[in-house]
């Protein structure tokens, strides 16, 4: 289930990325890279011996200071899972990884739209779920409708 932490770190070292790789309780192995290096790291993971060829999911998390984009990778050959987190500043660009993982196409659009990021290098950098003018809904700063507004609809 869990990939070897040292092997994972060695793969990143191989492409010249120094990143923190640690085993988090409950979740598994989490690797933190910077936003610029995310694509290189993902490509390295995919082409490595660990063969993380399957991107289970891609989503964002608003941590309060920045947007963490989480790539959830799986190696079908070795049955291992890895989480790669890339920290993006608010309103910065999310570099597309669809060439590495074609599955990232829709989730990236969704993530960029709902967290207010810009899409870079994406074949179809449009909104996916909402119409123009809707604020980035999943950011913590966007509030839900209050009880008053709902009651006096």
């Amino acid at each position: 289930m869990l990939p070897d932490v040292t092997v994972t770190r060695r793969i990143l070292d191989g492409v010249g990325i120094t990143a923190s790789v640690e085993e988090v309780a409950i979740l598994g192995v989490v690797c933190r890279v910077s936003a610029e290096q995310a694509r290189t790291a993902l490509r390295a993971f995919r082409d490595s011996d660990l063969a993380f060829t399957f991107m289970v999911d891609l989503f964002g998390v608003d941590t309060g200071e920045a947007i963490d984009v989480v790539y959830h990778l799986r190696s079908l050959a070795r049955d291992e899972e890895l989480f790669v987190k890339a920290e993006h500043a608010y309103d910065s660009a999310l570099t597309s990884v669809w060439k590495v993982f074609p599955a990232a196409h829709f989730p990236e659009r969704e993530c960029a739209e709902l967290f207010g990021l810009k899409l870079a290098d994406h074949p179809n950098p449009q909104r996916l779920l909402t119409t123009d003018g809707v604020p980035p809904l999943l950011r913590k700063s966007v509030r839900l409708r209050g009880p008053e507004e709902v009651r006096n609809r």
Binding site: L129, T130, T131, V134, P135, L137, V142, L144, R145, V150, R153
Partner: protein, 167 residues
């Protein structure tokens, strides 16, 4: 003037013929096959299935809005969908009715706090029958249709009352 009295809006001839046509209308309510969310499974699919079989009442589906009499709004309407709902309503020929099915279509339901969700479909199109439930059972939808039929039937009384008022 005389003609107007004979065939105008308050004439008995008009009211009685409309009564006949209202009978036809309420006995042949074709709904538009237009499901949005969960309610569509109950209100459109299960309802046309063998157990509930709305076809018994002459309630039948048409794929094109041009041939439909009733629009069942079955599900949450959000900002992106709202435009389509309005367009489909406009494409239906008169007389037409709207059944708002389920909590989401009535008020926004469990998703009412989300800013992207429209607080009830009645903000977009006029609604004739509201069916509560999340999702309403097919029986509830059937009851909603019976209520709609009652509502169409009651039109004659309304017209007769208007005739009395005008006299």
């Amino acid at each position: 003037m005389a003609i107007d009295k004979l065939t105008g809006e308050h004439s008995l001839l008009f009211i009685r013929s409309e009564q006949l046509f209202d009978t036809a209308r309420r006995k042949s309510l074709w709904y538009m096959a237009f499901g949005i969310a969960c309610c569509a499974i109950e209100g459109l699919m299960s309802a046309s299935g063998p157990r509930f079989d709305f076809d018994r009442h002459g309630v039948f589906f048409r794929a094109s809005p041009r041939q439909a009499d009733v629009m069942i709004v079955a599900g949450t309407v959000n900002l992106k969908m709202a435009e389509t709902v309005k367009m489909l309503y406009d494409q239906m020929p008169e007389p037409k009715w709207v059944v708002s099915m389920g909590a989401c279509a009535n008020t926004g339901g469990p998703f009412r706090e989300y800013p992207n969700v429209v607080l009830g479909v009645d903000k977009i199109v006029p609604v004739d029958v509201y069916i509560p439930g999340c999702p309403p059972r097919p029986e509830a939808v059937q009851y909603g249709f019976l209520q709609l039929m009652e509502k169409i039937k009651a039109q004659t009384e309304v017209r007769l009352a208007a005739r009395r008022d005008s006299n």
